[in-house]
């Protein structure tokens, strides 16, 4: 099984990305955009090739001797699961790189492109490594490389203060994540005496400890509640294509690891982990979407919505584990497929949304959505792409998001019908209601996001002078939105191929039971006919263009439109206790009640987790740090004393446990 020689597509991919990393160091600053982007794209194509060939011919590949890592050799497993994530990575990378070269030119901070390309190439290689690694040491090395490279990318605009603090929060989160993951690996190694994933098979109570550690470590990286804080910090700070890659792919590597360890390789069988994931996912999805609704910063909003989507995928993974624990392999397979579709569809539409946010931010020079508006007329193509992505986000048919949601609902319904235990049936039903609540909230956020930015009238000078972005940026977004449609329409075929990859094609009929072809035909004909009829009407009778209805009061001003703030207000009131939402209205004037001359409205909301839990925690750690720093007196005598005391302590401990 083990092959020594790496295959051709792997070599091409690595060479291309290496070229992209090195090339800018030998070029003038203005030549550092096109060629590396081209090389990254070429590498992405070859990565897709690798994914496709992997799907048909799974293999384990080890690197030759010099790459031995003292205890084990660096080895990589290429199977259907890796192939799925490699393909996701390849498409996202291709589109982001297409977008990057002209986007980075627009940036006002003029970052150093040498560092940017080197870190980007490093990040891509590291992500591929995580997705394919076959033993714990290789995994951890790639995991760390991924953390370092992505942190470097977050720091791209390091001249800004906000970026620096965001980068620090992100690095902190990755450290804690690695701590837990490494702890789990060491624990498993202590039990199994092996670093190879293939020889890990733990079940029963012995698996609980490492499983919980592993889950915690991975969900920190994935951005689950209550560890989601790094996402809304890091995403607004990083350049748009980097955010697209981090949210679209990097966060998913943690989900990959969950699927790999808990479902596919069955390294750990633990009911506790399944329920923990389910609970975390449920809270995460709800929390993420609730806070998406109140955000006014373009990318911060998208970061919170990533939290929501991660929550939904985590629910799918947890539910799949639960289904197989309770002996329903078919529902487990449907839910696993839902999770995999969730990974792909989220990567596609969230990348489009991040890229379009970047385009809006750079051409309108504004990232407060309450100061934008009416951009649909100035950037029609960006608007179209965003609309497709938003529809996929709301899981509307026929886009990729619908396929995900359909399979997730279908899987829970299967459990609700076929499970033997009534409490499991009821649980699946409650989950269904909860998911549809989250779905409806997600749609509200989507209407708010798309409507306030792209529709209506421009709310500021900045929004008025926005213009369409360059061709290559449009092409980057267009590729992904096209794929969103293709994946949505091709869901029946893709699920069949996936089932074959899983080796489960024998298990019952197809996952997909909707008559897609008829539905699509029907949709195209009805929409087409209706539009054509309206077109003919418009052609025969010209509309009279008048100002919008203003109740006869005269003069609708731009500020009378619904803002992002006011749009979310009804829901914010409903969930006021979670947000600590409050509205202050003040009337001023000689007779404020009857003839107000000036009305001031102010809303307050608070992210409770940050202000109530994390801030006190960070403050306490800071204070402890100050206490320790008192030891640093600068006097050599005190240091010698400390070292002597530590030595005694360690000897004491060693003597005790000899």
């Amino acid at each position: 099984m083990a092959q020594l020689s790496p295959s051709l597509p792997v070599v091409i991919t690595l060479v291309c990305w290496l070229f992209a990393a090195i090339y800018p160091f030998f070029r003038e600053p203005r030549d550092r955009y096109q060629a590396p982007a081209g090389a990254v794209m070429l590498g992405a194509v070859s990565c897709l090739w690798c994914a496709v060939s992997t799907f048909n011919h799974p293999a384990v590949r080890s690197l030759p001797l010099p790459f031995c890592l003292t205890v084990v050799s660096a080895s990589f497993r290429f199977d259907w699961l890796s192939a799925w994530f490699l393909a996701t990575l390849a498409v996202c990378t291709f589109a982001s790189a297409l977008f990057t070269s002209s986007y980075m030119r627009l940036l006002k901070t003029a970052p150093d492109m040498r560092l940017f390309w080197a870190s980007l190439a490093g990040l891509l290689v590291a992500m591929c490594g995580v997705i394919t690694s076959d033993n714990a040491i290789t995994f951890l090395i790639c995991w760390e490389l991924m953390a370092v490279c992505s942190a470097m990318l977050v720091f791209t605009n390091h001249r800004e203060r906000a970026t620096r603090s965001a980068g620090l929060i992100y690095i902190g989160a990755t450290r804690i994540s690695t701590l837990f993951v490494a702890g789990a690996f060491l624990w498993i190694h202590a039990i199994t005496h092996s670093w190879q994933f293939a020889s890990w098979h733990l079940s029963g109570t012995i698996a609980t400890g490492p499983a919980v550690l592993l889950v915690v470590g991975l969900v920190i990286k994935a951005g689950c509640w209550p560890f989601h804080l790094w996402l809304p910090a890091a995403h607004p700070a990083a350049p748009a294509p980097v955010s697209a890659l981090m949210s679209g792919v990097m966060v998913k590597t943690a989900l990959y690891a969950l699927i790999r360890f808990f479902i596919v390789s069955s390294a750990l069988h633990s009911a506790v982990a399944a329920f923990l994931l389910l609970a975390l996912g449920v809270v995460t999805a709800f929390w993420g979407v609730l806070f998406t609704l109140l955000q006014r910063d373009l990318k911060r909003l998208l970061a919170y919505s990533t939290v929501e989507n991660v929550g939904i995928i985590t629910v799918a993974i947890g539910l799949s584990m639960t289904a197989s624990l309770f002996g329903d392999p078919y529902a487990a397979m449907v839910l696993l497929t839902a999770a995999l579709f969730g990974v792909l569809s989220h990567a596609l539409f969230k990348s489009v949304l991040f890229l379009s946010a970047g385009a809006v931010d750079e051409t309108a020079d504004c990232h407060d959505i309450d100061r934008l508006g009416g951009l649909g007329r100035r950037m029609p193509r960006t608007f179209l792409n965003t609309l497709v992505a938003a529809a996929s986000f709301c899981s509307l048919p026929p886009f990729a998001g619908f396929a995900t949601e359909w399979m997730l609902f279908h899987g829970s319904l299967l459990i609700a019908i076929h499970a033997v235990q009534p409490e499991l049936r009821m649980g699946a039903l409650l989950l269904l209601g909860w998911l549809s609540l989250v779905g409806a909230l997600a749609m509200t956020t989507c209407i708010r996001f798309t409507g306030v930015i792209f529709l209506g009238r421009a709310r500021s000078r900045a929004a008025e002078k926005a213009h369409e972005c360059t061709r290559s940026m449009q092409a980057g977004m267009g590729t992904l939105s096209l794929l969103t449609v293709v994946v949505g329409l091709g869901a029946p075929q893709i699920t069949t191929i996936l089932a074959r990859g899983m080796g489960r094609s024998s298990l019952l009929p197809a996952v997909w039971t909707l008559p897609t072809a008829e539905l699509v035909l029907l949709m195209v004909t009805t929409t087409g006919l209706l539009l054509a009829w309206l077109q003919r009407r418009d052609h025969n009778q010209a509309d009279s263009r008048v100002p919008a209805w203003d109740c006869g009061a005269g003069g609708l001003s731009v500020r009378m439109q619904a803002t992002a703030e006011s749009f979310a207000q009804p829901i914010a009131r409903m969930f006021g206790s979670i947000y600590r939402y409050a509205i202050d209205v003040q009337f001023d004037g000689t007779s404020p009640r009857l003839f107000p001359e000036q009305i001031t409205v102010e809303t307050h909301s608070e992210a409770t987790l940050e202000s109530r839990v994390y801030e006190p925690l960070v403050r306490t750690i800071g204070r402890l740090g100050e206490l320790i720093s008192r030891l640093q007196t600068g006097s050599i005598h005190i240091y010698l004393l400390t070292m002597f005391a530590t030595l005694l302590l360690l000897l004491g401990i060693a003597g005790r446990y000899r």
């Binding site: 319904l413 009821m426 529709l455 009804p570």
Partner: protein, 305 residues
């Protein structure tokens, strides 16, 4: 095959004729109850034809999305009408509850975005309120339909009109689910006590505020669309009631559905006359009843298993 074609023909005829007829009946009943002479039952058809011939008055601020949205949302609802067994016959295309809910959502998204495109205060207000209510309506619909699906042991919507077990007396699963959908339908079709369809006071509007800027052929499409939504939802409720009564033969089901739908329309007219509109911030409390009904229906269905 011929049975399929006959079914398709009946459903198509009903899609074309029934929605506007029901609106006509509703308006006529309402005016009789108010001791007015009122319009003829077929008046909505004349209105529809008149609107399609008229030229439109369009706001200067609107863009292509506003102009295309009525077509998109009507298309979504037409597909909905073709995948749902609301007429008492099996739907021509087999759909399931996920498709049902997300097609409704697609129509809602199109009209919400179109409302924001007008750039007026009313459009935004309507879209915002409709979305806020949808977060309670959507779980209600999903859970009520899921209760029906679990009770019948089949995930397709068509199972609802072909009761497999035909046990009747479903231990309250079906009536509760029907009640839940009925409450959700009050929001979706903007009837009393959620919204007063006769007033044109903008500040009290939810759904109406979104279509304020439409005129001419597009208004015709939008009005037909809300009539179609009413027809489909009432027809769907009828299926739950007919299952409770364990009625199986196609002819009995079609005529039963027709009768029940007209009864519900008359009830809606009575409520229009005798109920007052709730303050819109009180609406979540009312909708919570719907959610509670559907949850209990689910619980009972799950326990029964």
């Amino acid at each position: 095959m011929s049975i399929y074609l006959v079914r398709m023909a009946i459903v198509t005829c009903e899609i074309v004729l029934l929605p506007l007829l029901l609106i006509g009946i509703l308006r006529a009943t309402r005016s009789r109850l108010q001791k007015r002479k009122g319009p003829r039952i077929f008046q909505p058809f004349y209105d529809f034809m008149r609107l399609t011939r008229k030229s439109a008055v369009v706001s200067e601020e609107t863009g292509p999305l506003f102009r295309g949205a009525p077509a998109a949302s009507l298309a979504a609802l037409l597909i909905l009408a073709l995948v749902t067994p609301w007429s008492g016959l099996a739907a021509p295309i087999s759909g399931d509850l996920v498709l049902f809910v997300f097609l409704l959502a697609a129509a809602r998204m199109a009209s919400g975005l179109a409302a924001l495109d007008t750039g007026t205060a009313f459009g935004g207000l309507g879209a915002s309120r409709e979305s806020a209510l949808s977060i309670l309506v959507e779980p209600t619909l999903v859970l009520a339909l899921a209760a029906g699906a679990i009770y019948e042991g089949n995930l397709t919507l068509n199972a609802l009109c072909q009761p497999a077990n035909g046990r009747g007396g479903s231990a309250y699963v079906m009536p509760l689910a029907a009640a839940a959908i009925w409450l959700a339908a009050a929001v979706e079709t903007s009837r009393m006590p959620v919204e007063d369809p006769t007033t044109h006071l903008e500040l009290t509007m939810i759904h109406e505020a979104q279509m304020l800027e439409y005129s001419g052929p597009r208004l015709a499409l939008v009005e037909y669309q809300s009539a179609l939504k009413l027809t489909v939802l009432y027809g769907l409720i009828s299926q739950f009631i007919l299952n409770e009564m364990a009625i199986k033969s196609s002819i009995a089901r079609v005529s039963g559905t027709f009768g029940l739908t007209i009864a519900m329309v008359v009830a809606a007219a009575v409520m229009d006359v005798f109920l007052v509109r709730l303050h819109w911030r009180k609406l979540p409390d009312l909708l919570t009843f719907g959610l509670a009904f559907s949850l209990v229906a689910c619980l009972l269905a799950a326990l029964r298993g």
